[in-house]
C-alpha cells in the first residue's frame, strides 16, 4: 500500500532529519566555544575535539534507526502494513525529537566544559562524565525504536 509506505517514510524522514539537525546544532555550539577557548590555552585541542564530537552521535542514532528499519526489519517495502507504518512513524517521532533536544542540551554541557578548560581548569573528564547523561535518553529512544520495530517486523 502506497499510503502506508508514505507514512513510514515520513517517520524515517523525521527520524533522520531531527536527530541530524540536533547533532549539527550540538557540535556547532561546542565548536564555537572550542574556537574561543583555543585562543587561551595551548595543547588542549585534543580535548576540545572529543568534546565537540560528543553531541554528534545522536545524528548517527537517527541514521542507525533508518538502517534498522531498512535492513534489519526489512519492512520498508510496498507490502508494508498500516501497523508497521505507524510503528515506523512513532519510532521516528520519538527518536527524532529526543535526538534533537538531547544533542542541543548535550552541546551546551560540553561547551561549558570547553570554556572551563579554556580558563585553565582541568575539567575534561568531569565534562565527559556529565555530558553522557543527556545522551542516555537518545540511547533509550534508539532501543525503544528497535523494540517497536522488532515487535511489528
Amino acid at each position: 500500500m502506497e499510503t502506508n509506505l508514505l507514512i513510514a517514510y515520513t517517520g524515517i524522514a523525521v527520524m533522520i532529519a531531527l536527530a541530524g539537525i540536533g547533532s549539527a546544532y550540538g557540535v556547532t555550539i561546542v565548536g564555537n566555544a572550542a574556537i574561543g577557548a583555543a585562543k587561551k590555552v595551548d595543547g588542549k585541542f585534543g580535548n576540545f575535539l572529543v568534546l565537540t564530537a560528543l553531541p554528534g552521535t545522536q545524528g548517527l542514532y537517527g541514521f542507525a534507526g533508518y538502517f534498522m528499519f531498512q535492513n534489519i526489519f526489512n519492512i520498508l517495502t510496498p507490502e508494508i502494513t498500516l501497523l508497521q507504518a505507524m510503528a515506523t512513524l512513532a519510532s521516528g517521532l520519538a527518536l527524532g525529537f529526543v535526538g534533537l533536544l538531547s544533542s542541543i542540551r548535550q552541546g551546551q554541557v560540553c561547551a561549558n566544559g570547553v570554556v572551563s578548560i579554556g580558563q585553565g581548569h582541568d575539567a575534561f573528564s568531569n565534562t565527559l562524565i556529565l555530558a553522557v547523561f543527556p545522551e542516555l535518553y537518545a540511547i533509550v529512544s534508539l532501543a525503544a525504536a528497535f523494540l517497536m520495530g522488532s515487535a511489528v517486523a
Binding site: L60, F67, I72, L128, I129, V132, E135, L136, V140, A143
Partner: protein, 604 residues
C-alpha cells in the same frame, strides 16, 4: 575498608620546632592536621606561589622549545640552576621580541624600497648638496601627465598594476605641491644593505631560538625547582598548623598515622627531643581516611574517590559495590568482541610496562582487564561479537550456548531490574550495619522493618507455596515490619512524631524505590543500543563497499574499523559512567552513605 588510625599529639620546644618538622618530614608517615590560618599563610606563601607560577611558565616554554631532532641528553637536575632559568628565559624572550620588532620594520621598509631598485641614498645626498632635489612619486597611471617628462625631468621607473612610479630631478623646492600629488618618503638606506640587515636580524633571532633550545637541556632542573618550591609550600603550611602555647615557647601539633605504622613511628620519635602521645581517635575527630582493601576491591578505589571518601566511623562501600560495578559495566557494553578487545589491549600494555615500577596506570590496566573479562561473560548472554549475532550461527557450539545461556530482550530487561532490586536491598542491609556501627542497634530497626517487608513480598511472589501472599504468616510479618517502620524510625522521640515520620518515610520509599529500580533499565538500553550500532556498522561495511576486487575489501575494512572504534569509545564511556551513577545515586542513597572524609596525605 578504612584503615584504623592513631592520633599523635606532639609538643616541641619552639627552638627545636623547625628541626622537629624536618625530622617529621623525613619520617613521612604523619598526616598533619592543618589549620586554616590564611592571614599568616598568605604573606609567606605568596612568594612561593609566585615562584611556582614563573617556574611553570618556564617549564612550558622549555617543553615547547626542545629540539627533538638533536636528541641531546638532559642535564642533571639542579634546584639552584632551575631557579635561575625563568629569568634567563625572560631575557632571551625580551631580546627576541625587540629583534623581531626591528625585523618587521625592516621588512616594511624593504617593501617600500623594492619598486625603486637598488641605489645608494648617499648619491641623492650629493645631488642635494649640488642644489638638485630628487623626489619620488607614485600616481595612478591615468593621472601621470607626459608633459612632466619635459617640464620636470620626470623619469618613469616602473609601471605596475596601473600605477606609475616616477622620479623628478629639479631645482624646485616642494615640487609635490606644484604637481599636487603626494611625495613618497623613502628610508635612508639602500636595498642591498637593507637585505643584509634583514639577514643579520634573522640570524640573530635564530641564535636566540637556539639559546632557548640549549636552555631546554635544563628542563629537569626546572622540574626539580618546581618540586622544591612545592615542598616548601607544604612545609610552610604544616609549620603554621601548630598551636603556640606558654608564651609561644611550646608548639602543639596534631597528626594522624595508620595503626600499622605505630611501632615504627614511636621508635623513631623516641630518638628525638619531643614529647608525644599516641591515642585512639575520639568520635568527634576529623580523622583522615586511608583505604585498606583486598587486591580486587583496591582496583575500584579510584571510582569510589570520584564521589567522596567515607567518614572514619562509616562503612567503606568500595568492596560492596565493586562486584556490582564489574557486572554492570559488562552488561552495559555487552559484546564479547569488545570485552575481548579491552582485555587483550590492557594485557598487552601491561606486558610492555612490566619492567617499570608499579604506578597508578598499572592499577587502571588491571581494572580494565577485570572489566573486559566481565564484558566477555555478559556478552555470552546476548551473543554479540563485534555486532555479529553469534547465536544465529548454525554450529553445535553456538546452538548449545544458545540453549543454556542466551537471554532475549525481554529477559535482559527483567535481568536489569532484578539486579537493581538485589543491589538496592543489599544497600539497605549495609544501611543497617552502618547505623548499628555509628548510632547503635536501635536506630537500625526501622530499616530492618523495610527489608523484612520488601523481602516478604518478594518471597510471597516467587514462592507462594512457601509463603502465601496475604496469608497469616505474611500478615504477621507485615504487621511486625509496620511496627518497626512506624514506631522505631527515630528512637527517643514522641510515638506520634514517629508515626508521622514513618508515613513520610513510606511516601519516600514508595516513590523513591520505584524510580530507583527503573533506573537500572539503563543497563539494558545501553547494552541493546550498543549492539544495534555495532551491527549497523557491520551491515554498512558490507553494503557500502564498492563492487571491486581491491577497493571493495579495503573500504569494507575501513568502515568496520572506524565504525567500531567510534562505537567502542562511546559505549565504553557510557559503560563507565552509568554504573557509576547507579552506584552513587541508587546504591549509596539506599545504603545511607554520607561521606566527606579527608584523604590521608602524609607530610613528606
Amino acid at each position: 575498608m578504612v584503615a584504623k588510625m592513631k592520633k599523635f599529639t606532639f609538643l616541641a620546644f619552639h627552638k627545636d620546632y623547625e628541626r622537629f618538622l624536618h625530622n617529621l618530614r623525613e619520617l613521612g608517615m604523619i598526616h598533619v592536621a592543618e589549620q586554616d590560618r590564611t592571614e599568616v599563610n598568605e604573606e609567606e606563601l605568596q612568594q612561593f606561589i609566585a615562584e611556582t607560577k614563573r617556574l611553570k611558565e618556564a617549564e612550558k616554554v622549555l617543553k615547547r622549545s626542545i629540539d627533538k631532532k638533536a636528541n641531546r641528553p638532559f642535564h642533571e637536575p639542579d634546584v639552584m640552576r632551575g631557579k635561575q632559568i625563568p629569568a634567563e628565559i625572560e631575557q632571551i624572550q625580551l631580546r627576541r621580541t625587540s629583534l623581531n620588532q626591528q625585523l618587521q620594520v625592516s621588512k616594511k621598509e624593504r617593501e617600500l624600497l623594492l619598486p625603486w631598485g637598488n641605489f645608494d641614498p648617499e648619491s641623492i645626498h650629493r645631488l642635494e648638496q649640488e642644489g638638485y632635489h630628487m623626489d619620488f612619486f607614485i600616481v595612478p597611471e591615468n593621472k601621470f601627465d607626459p608633459t612632466w617628462e619635459t617640464m620636470y625631468d620626470a623619469v618613469i621607473v616602473k609601471k605596475e598594476s596601473s600605477k606609475t612610479y616616477f622620479v623628478t630631478v629639479t631645482r624646485i623646492d616642494h615640487i609635490a605641491d606644484l604637481l599636487d600629488i603626494e611625495e613618497i618618503k623613502l628610508p635612508d638606506i639602500s636595498l642591498s644593505s637593507l637585505d643584509q640587515l634583514i639577514l643579520s636580524l634573522e640570524e640573530k633571532i635564530k641564535l636566540q631560538d637556539e639559546a632557548l633550545q640549549r636552555l631546554s637541556d635544563d628542563l629537569p632542573s626546572v622540574e626539580a625547582a618546581l618540586k622544591d618550591v612545592g615542598a616548601r609550600i607544604v612545609f610552610t603550611r604544616v609549620a603554621h598548623s601548630a598551636t603556640p602555647l606558654a608564651d609561644e615557647k611550646l608548639m602543639l601539633l596534631q597528626g594522624w598515622a595508620p595503626v600499622q605504622n605505630e611501632q615504627e613511628i614511636v621508635s623513631y620519635l623516641e630518638s628525638m627531643d619531643v614529647y608525644f602521645e599516641a591515642t585512639d581517635p575520639l568520635p568527634e575527630d576529623d580523622v583522615p581516611i586511608q583505604f585498606k582493601n583486598n587486591r580486587f576491591s583496591r582496583l575500584f578505589e579510584p571510582i569510589a574517590e570520584l564521589y567522596m571518601l567515607p567518614k572514619y566511623n562509616e562503612i567503606d562501600l568500595t568492596p560492596y559495590f565493586a562486584p556490582f560495578y564489574m557486572l554492570f559495566f559488562g552488561l552495559s557494553l555487552g559484546d564479547m568482541g569488545y570485552g575481548m578487545f579491552l582485555l587483550v589491549m590492557a594485557t598487552l600494555v601491561k606486558m610492555l610496562q612490566r619492567k617499570k615500577p608499579a604506578t597508578g596506570l598499572k592499577a587502571i590496566l588491571s581494572l580494565v582487564q577485570v572489566l573486559g573479562a566481565s564484558t566477555m561473560v555478559a556478552g555470552l548472554l546476548t551473543g554479540g561479537f563485534f555486532g555479529f549475532a553469534v547465536y544465529t550461527l548454525d554450529n553445535p557450539v553456538s546452538q548449545a550456548l544458545k540453549e543454556n545461556v542466551f537471554f532475549n530482550n525481554n529477559q535482559m530487561f527483567i535481568l536489569s531490574l532484578v539486579l537493581g532490586v538485589i543491589q538496592i536491598l543489599f544497600g539497605m542491609c549495609l544501611k543497617v550495619f552502618n547505623r548499628i556501627k555509628q548510632f547503635g542497634a536501635i536506630h537500625a530497626l526501622s530499616t530492618i522493618g523495610w527489608i523484612l517487608l520488601l523481602t516478604s513480598f518478594i518471597i510471597a511472589y516467587l514462592l507462594p507455596a512457601f509463603l502465601p501472599m496475604g496469608g497469616t504468616l505474611h500478615s504477621i510479618i507485615m504487621g511486625l515490619a509496620a511496627i518497626l517502620i512506624f514506631f522505631f524510625n527515630s528512637p527517643g522521640k514522641n510515638p506520634l512524631v514517629n508515626l508521622g515520620l514513618g508515613l513520610w518515610d513510606t511516601y519516600n520509599m514508595a516513590t523513591g524505590l520505584l524510580g530507583d529500580v527503573l533506573s537500572y533499565v539503563r543497563l539494558f538500553a545501553l547494552g541493546l543500543s550498543g549492539g544495534i550500532l555495532a551491527s549497523v556498522f557491520n551491515s554498512l561495511a558490507v553494503g557500502m563497499s564498492p563492487d571491486n576486487a581491491i577497493a571493495g575489501p579495503i573500504v569494507a575494512i575501513l568502515i568496520f574499523l572506524i565504525g567500531h572504534a567510534i562505537n567502542i569509545f562511546m559505549n565504553v564511556l557510557g559503560a563507565i559512567v552509568h554504573p557509576v551513577r547507579l552506584t552513587f545515586v541508587e546504591f549509596y542513597k539506599n545504603a545511607e552513605f554520607s561521606g566527606g572524609g579527608k584523604k590521608y596525605t602524609p607530610f613528606r
